[in-house]
Symmetry: C2
Subunit: 403 residues, 2 copies
C-alpha cells in the first residue's frame, strides 16, 4: 500500500522542496501578454499627468453652473479653446468657459466640464450652459488613475490585455518577465501507440502526451514531447536522463500504479530521490513526485482524466512555484443538480458543466469513469468533495473551480 499524502501536504512539499527560478528576460510590451512578471511594477509618476476632460464641451467652474436650466442657462464668456495634445496655457478667467475636446488638458481654475450636448453657443462670444455640473464632473484629475510609487502590478502576475494597457500608460515598452519553463513529457506503457497510429488489439493511443503538452503550453510553458517509452527500466532511465538535461519539469505519464511493471519510481530513485508516492484524491491516487538534478519529476496516472486532474492540481502548482506565478483562483458557488456519493476516504474531483438560468447557477456532474476523455471535453470546471464526506445531495451548495 502507498503512504498517501493529502493535496495540502503535496502543496507544502512542493513549496519546501523547490524554489522559484531566477531566469528572467526582457520582452517587448507587444509580446508580453500572458507572461509572468518578474518583479512588481510601480508607478513612475501621476496618471493622468494633468487634469483631463472625459467629454467634448466647456471647461467651467462648477459653481458658475448651479441652478442653470434650459429655460435659464448660465451665460459664460467664451474665453478660448484647448486643443488636443497641447497644454492648457492660460487659467480660466472669472465667469468664463473654455472650449475643450475629449482628452484635453483642463485649464487651471476649471473644476468641471459641461458637456457640449447641454450647452448653447449664442455666437456673440458667450456660451449658455443648460444643465448644472458638479465639481469634478466629466473630468479625471491628475493622479486619479495612479500616484507615483503605487504598486500597479505585483510580481508574479500573469499579464492580461488590461495589464498591458496599464504598462503602456506607465511608459514601459519592455517588460521583465520570467523565462518560460520547459516541460518534458514521457509516456510510458507497453500498450501505448502514438496517436497517429491505429492501435492493435490490447493497445491504446497515447492521449496524455498531447493533452498534458497542451495543458503546459496553456500555462505558458514550452513543451518537449519525448515520446513513448516501453515498460523497461533502462529505457525509461535513459529517457529521463535526457529529459532532465533539457527541461525544468519532467512528467512521466502512466506507469505509476502499484502494477508489476511500475518503473517510474525505480528510474527516479536511480537518478535522484522520491518525495512522495500517492495522494488521497480520486481520480489520481497513484501520483508521485521525485527530484533529480534538482528538478521535479512527476509520475502521473495513465488514465487521461486522472492525468488531467493531477496535472491541473500538482503540475500547475509546480509551474506556479518555479515560475513565481501567483495564481488567483475564483471558486464559483453553484447548486448541484444530482446527488453524488463519495465515501472512500479520498477527496473526490468531479468534472461538471455549468448552466445558468434566471440567476441560478447549476453544476451538473458529468457521468463517466476515470479515463473517459470525451466526457471531460464538455466540462466547464470541477467540484471537489472533501475526504470523509459521504457525498453531496441534489440541491446542495457546491463551489466550482473553472477550467
Amino acid at each position: 500500500m502507498l503512504h498517501v499524502l493529502t493535496p495540502e501536504e503535496v502543496y507544502a512539499l512542493i513549496r519546501e522542496s523547490f524554489n522559484t527560478l531566477e531566469n528572467k528576460e526582457a520582452v517587448p510590451l507587444s509580446e508580453s501578454c500572458g507572461r509572468v512578471l518578474s518583479g512588481p511594477v510601480l508607478s513612475g509618476g501621476d496618471e493622468p499627468p494633468f487634469n483631463r476632460s472625459t467629454v467634448d464641451g466647456y471647461a467651467v467652474k462648477a459653481s458658475d453652473t448651479f441652478g442653470a436650466s434650459e429655460s435659464l442657462p448660465a451665460i459664460l464668456e467664451m474665453a478660448g479653446q484647448i486643443y488636443m495634445g497641447e497644454p492648457a496655457r492660460d487659467p480660466l478667467p472669472e465667469d468664463a468657459c473654455i472650449r475643450i475636446p475629449t482628452g484635453g488638458a483642463v485649464p487651471e481654475g476649471a473644476n468641471a466640464i459641461a458637456m457640449q450636448e447641454f450647452t448653447e453657443d449664442f455666437e456673440d462670444g458667450t456660451i449658455g450652459i443648460t444643465k448644472p455640473v458638479s465639481p469634478g464632473e466629466n473630468m479625471i484629475f491628475k493622479g486619479d488613475d495612479m500616484k507615483e510609487g503605487d504598486v500597479i502590478l505585483p510580481a508574479g502576475k500573469r499579464l492580461t490585455p488590461k495589464d498591458i494597457g496599464a504598462l503602456a500608460s506607465l511608459g514601459i515598452s519592455d517588460v521583465t518577465v520570467q523565462t518560460p519553463l520547459t516541460v518534458g513529457i514521457i509516456s510510458t506503457g507497453d500498450e501505448l501507440v502514438p496517436e497517429s497510429e491505429v492501435p492493435g488489439p490490447g493497445q491504446i493511443r497515447d492521449i496524455n502526451s498531447q493533452m498534458l503538452g497542451a495543458l503546459c503550453q496553456s500555462e505558458g510553458c514550452r513543451v518537449h514531447l519525448c515520446g513513448i517509452v516501453k515498460d523497461d527500466l533502462d529505457l525509461l532511465t535513459d529517457a529521463l536522463k535526457k529529459a532532465l538535461a533539457q527541461c525544468d519539469i519532467i512528467i512521466l505519464s502512466g506507469g505509476s500504479s502499484v502494477g508489476e511493471k511500475d518503473n517510474s519510481v525505480k528510474a527516479i530513485t536511480r537518478l535522484g530521490e522520491l518525495l512522495f508516492h500517492g495522494v488521497a484524491i480520486r481520480p489520481g491516487k497513484p501520483t508521485l513526485l521525485g527530484k533529480a538534478d534538482g528538478k521535479p519529476v512527476f509520475g502521473l496516472p495513465g488514465h487521461p482524466q486522472a492525468a488531467f486532474f493531477t496535472a491541473k492540481l500538482f503540475v500547475c502548482a509546480m509551474i506556479d512555484r518555479l515560475s513565481g506565478y501567483k495564481r488567483e483562483t475564483i471558486r464559483i458557488p453553484a447548486t448541484l443538480s444530482r446527488s453524488v456519493s463519495a465515501n472512500d476516504g479520498r477527496e473526490l474531483y468531479l468534472p461538471v458543466t455549468l448552466k445558468e438560468e434566471n440567476g441560478i447557477l447549476t453544476a451538473i456532474p458529468l457521468h463517466g469513469k476515470s479515463g473517459l476523455i470525451a466526457t471531460l471535453t464538455r466540462a466547464d470546471g470541477y467540484i471537489c468533495i472533501e475526504r470523509n464526506r459521504e457525498g453531496i445531495k441534489a440541491g446542495d451548495a457546491v463551489n466550482v473551480y473553472l477550467f
Copy 2:
C-alpha cells in the same frame, strides 16, 4: 446627436454584414491548442476499442464474487494473466479469474475487475476475492467514451487541452483550424505619443494600441500595430488604406466622438460605407463600424476603459463572426456589494472584482471613471445594468461576465 443602436442591434448588424471567412489550415495537434476548429470532429470508432480495466486486479464474473468477505473469500482458479498492450486471447473460464493490470484488455466472459487490494493469492493456483464487485465495476466498456459517428467536438470550438486529449484519442494528429485573423490597429489623436516616449504638456501616451493588440492576440489573432496617426483626414485615409491591404479587421482607436477633429467617419466613408455610429452603452457610446474592401473597420473611443469594453463586446463579436468561433459565455450569479446608480438610458458596463466567502460570491464594483486603466487591471469581470434601469441596490443579485 448620434443615432445610437442597442448592443443587440450591433450584434445583428455584424451577423448580417459579415460572413465567416473560408480560410483554414491544417496544423499539427501539438500546435492546435487555442485554435478554432473549422469543422466538427466525429468519432471514427468506439473508444475505448475494447473493454478495459481501470485498476490492477483480477478479471472476474461479478456473480462469482457475490457474498464474498474477508472471512469467507470467493475462491477462484487463477486462469492466466493479461499483459499490458496485448489482446485478451482466451475467454474467462468458469469459476476462474485472470490477473489484469490497469489499462489491460478485459477477457470475454469477465464483467468486473476485483481490485488487487481486495484479493489474496493463496499461491496454490487459486485467488481469494475478499469483497464483492458489481457488474461493470472497475472497468470501462468498449465505446463507453464515444461511439462511432458521435460529434465529439463541434465546428467553431476553441481547442482546450482536454479537447486535444480527445483528438489524440481519435488518432487525429493534424487538425483543420481557422487561419488566424489579422487585426490592424491605428491610434489617432494629436495628443498621443508612443508609450515609449515621455508625454509633454497636454500629451498622453498611446495606451490603446498595446492594450487592444494584446486583447486581439489573446483572442487568437495576429496583430499589426500601425502606430499613431495625427488628426488629419488624408493621413488617416492613407493609413487605413494600407491597413486594409494587410488585415482582416481594422480598429481606429480614438477620434470617434463628435469632436471637431473627428476624421474616422470621413476616412471610412471615403473608402467604404459607415454601418453605424453610436451604441447605447456606457462607457463606449461613440463606437462606430464601417465596411471597406468588404472588411470591418471599427472606430473605438479613445478612453482606455471605453476602448476595452467596446473591443470586448463588439470587436470580439466580429472576431467570432469572421473566424466562426462559437463563444460560450458563462454568467456567474453574485451579490452586489454596494449600490450603483445608472439612469441615462444606456446600458452601463461596470468592472467588478469578485470575492468568495463561505459560498457567497460578492461582486464589488470598482470605482473609477472612463479612462482609468489602473482600476481596470484589478477587475475579474463586469456586470451590465440594463438601459432604463435606475440602478442596482447593495445586496441585489447580479450576473457577472468573467474577463
